[in-house]
Symmetry: C2
Subunit: 418 residues, 2 copies
């Protein structure tokens, strides 16, 4: 039994399967008799010494985490500066690690979190403290470098493709006398991965979704209007999937999610779907509807991808292996080892190659006209949404998600003002 | 084998299970060797003589309808006036019925469609034409009179409760450093049934959703702000579910779905969720997010309620029975015959008691403070979302929905200009 504590924390936007990673981390560590604490709200909990004793949770609860969306220990949106600029915080971290004998730190998040993990990994050398820091991948945005895909993306992608296929059937049925244009807004501020996944819902020019809008391509309103009109005239209706972060050629966002002010000075929130729907209505006169699933798309554990779930579990287990083997500043990444049949494995990669990088869609994934995905993109995306892994449902017709007790560890240090 | 043709049509907003009703209608009629035509786009297809020969569909396709959302034959939003005011249309209908030997007409829809069915039922007496017209219930709004519930509602209700439960876990995880208030917009222009269903996702004052807003209760913004603030201060975050049709005490909609114009004269679309989120941000300063699932909530066959599916099938089969038995101007309605365990049966009810009526939530279903549901509402709603009935998924990870061939019947009449 290795001596020391493993500290696990969740960071950034949560996903349908980040708790599956947590479940795998805790189960792997328990199997090796390693004590696991979890930080409440990511790195904040480590700084505030708000730690949770996962040994107080029965194994059934830890197993149930694998089918529970959200972030069971709380997450955060916080970025640490460099060791030089934020030295007091790193010293505090070290104090907390020492006080609780933390030898392994697993930070489960996206690009920013990989950066935090990389910085924390430097504590080992800087302060000569025996620490292995492992980043664990997670993001519905699928924009981490090095890894073939990101746990959390496959399930959000499946949600997107399923939802767009279903809504398109609704629109098709009503188009003769009602809505002719439907706009679905997908997450993706800088990368169009989720909008691309919607493309899996149909095939060919006449099957919905008809138009995908990617942040990787400049948005040209006149061209878009022409495409919408041509689709309605040919098919009878038009389903559009827009990435929230599409920009015009001058680099400005088509719609600022933060919104503007109305004539009374009130905040007018709105996204790209509502904006495009309004513009289409004015310019083309069609009846429009739009949907903004927002958090629903990243928490929809009920329609999770089995592939995604398996990968979320695999990176959790690998992270424990790497940490206990003393590997510092690494992240378990997913490597695609076969196309047909799809195969994958998990390997370690240096955090320095992942932190702060952002993987947008390769040009070869976007159709020449900019409004759809290529066969190459389809081959990449399709295995990621494959397989179903529904949660157990109760007699009440609802998924049985677990709420942990989250018993705090007794604090040993004075307060720390962030 | 009864002589004559049964004509089936879908009307109004479609649902996740209206095609299950269609599947039951066609299978029941086939079992009795009755020919079934379907009108394309509801009553419009009957007027335009755009009829579909369902006998051209293999039985596998008809069975697959039971797990396919949308409206397989097309639907419409059209209301006929009285026999007196729209006489030419009724005469045309009669011509079409005669030309295709239509003796039974099944109209599958909500309140407006029940009104159309009632008017068509009068053709029998008015023109001495042997016709049995049966309305078949369907609506996610759950606002039909007489019937205990409406096929389509249970699945939309399940989607709502599941989605709100999942999104709430996301918000809970992030609230410390990110979104504190989340607003989900549910369909329901005049009746708060879907917002009420969200209430099934949690129990007690601290479990999400924390605040439900019903069109049945006047919206008081100051009181709402106070409740939001109190919830955030007590729980750490606040999940709000708003019916699209909430109104202030003076009867005006809180947010017009049609939207207004911005200072450039452009249409500014927006719903109640975006409006409330903006107001909360301005008044209370919290970070807000909101979701507008729109058509997703009524087409989400992937998370359909088994109870709802069974009821959709049962009303389809009953409608064929009633029609072939010569019952005119009736609708099969669902009668609750037991509470624990929940039991139900299907009975005929006169269309005249259903047409144009709207069933809002009983006062006893809304909590005294107006922001939640009572135990009575819970007992009513919970059985309706019970049970899962997922569609088959393909190797590609997507639900396998069927597209019918929809082979048109050769027209026998000249065009009719509507």
């Amino acid at each position: 039994m290795p001596s020391g504590t493993l500290l696990y924390a969740q960071s950034g936007g949560v996903t349908a399967v980040i708790n599956a990673t947590a479940s795998a981390v805790i189960q792997s560590a328990r199997a090796r008799r390693v004590r696991v604490l979890a930080a409440r709200n990511g790195i904040l909990g480590a700084l505030r010494e708000e730690l949770i004793d996962t040994s107080k949770e029965p194994i059934a609860a830890i197993r149930a985490l694998a089918h529970t969306p959200g972030g069971a220990f709380g997450s955060c949106r916080v970025k640490l500066k460099s060791l030089k600029d934020d030295r007091a915080k790193y010293e505090r971290l070290l104090e907390v690690f020492r006080a609780h004998d933390v030898r392994w730190f697993l930070y489960n998040g996206g690009n920013d979190s990989a950066d935090t993990a990389l910085k924390v990994s430097r504590l080992a050398r800087e302060f000569d403290y025996p620490l292995a820091c492992v980043g664990v991948p997670k993001t519905v945005d699928n924009d981490l470098a090095v890894t073939d895909c990101c746990p959390g993306f496959g399930s959000a992608a499946k949600y997107t493709a399923v939802s767009v296929r279903e809504a398109a059937l609704d629109v098709a049925a009503m188009a003769d006398t009602s809505t002719k244009v439907f706009v679905y807004e997908a997450m993706g501020r800088h990368a169009g991965w989720l909008a691309a996944a919607a493309g899996l819902a149909g095939n060919g020019a006449d099957e919905a979704p008809h138009l995908l809008l990617f942040p990787e391509r400049p948005f040209d309103e006149a061209d878009f209007f022409a495409k919408v009109r041509a689709t309605v005239e040919r098919v009878g209706y038009c389903v559009v999937v827009a990435s929230e972060g599409i920009r015009t050629a001058d680099g400005g966002f088509v719609a600022d999610a933060g919104g503007g002010k109305d004539s009374f000075g009130h905040t007018q929130l709105g996204g790209v779907a509502s904006h495009l729907a309004g513009r289409v209505k004015d310019a083309l006169g069609y009846k429009v509807h739009w949907a903004l699933p927002d958090y629903l798309q990243r928490s929809a554990r009920h329609v999770a991808s089995k592939t995604d779930l398996q990968q979320a579990i695999a990176v959790g287990a690998a992270a424990v292996d790497y940490a206990l083997a003393g590997m510092n500043a690494v992240m378990p990444v997913i490597v695609r080892t076969g196309e047909a049949p799809y195969r994958w494995t998990v390997q370690p990669a240096p955090l320095s190659k992942i932190a702060n990088k952002e993987k947008t869609m390769p040009a070869g994934f976007i159709r020449r006209d900019g409004y759809g995905i290529t066969d190459k993109a389809r081959r990449y995306l399709e295995p990621l949404i494959r397989g179903e892994a529904p949660p157990p449902y109760g007699r009440d017709g609802l998924p049985q998600y677990v709420a942990l007790k989250n018993v705090p560890v007794r604090r040993r240090l004075p307060d720390f003002v962030l």
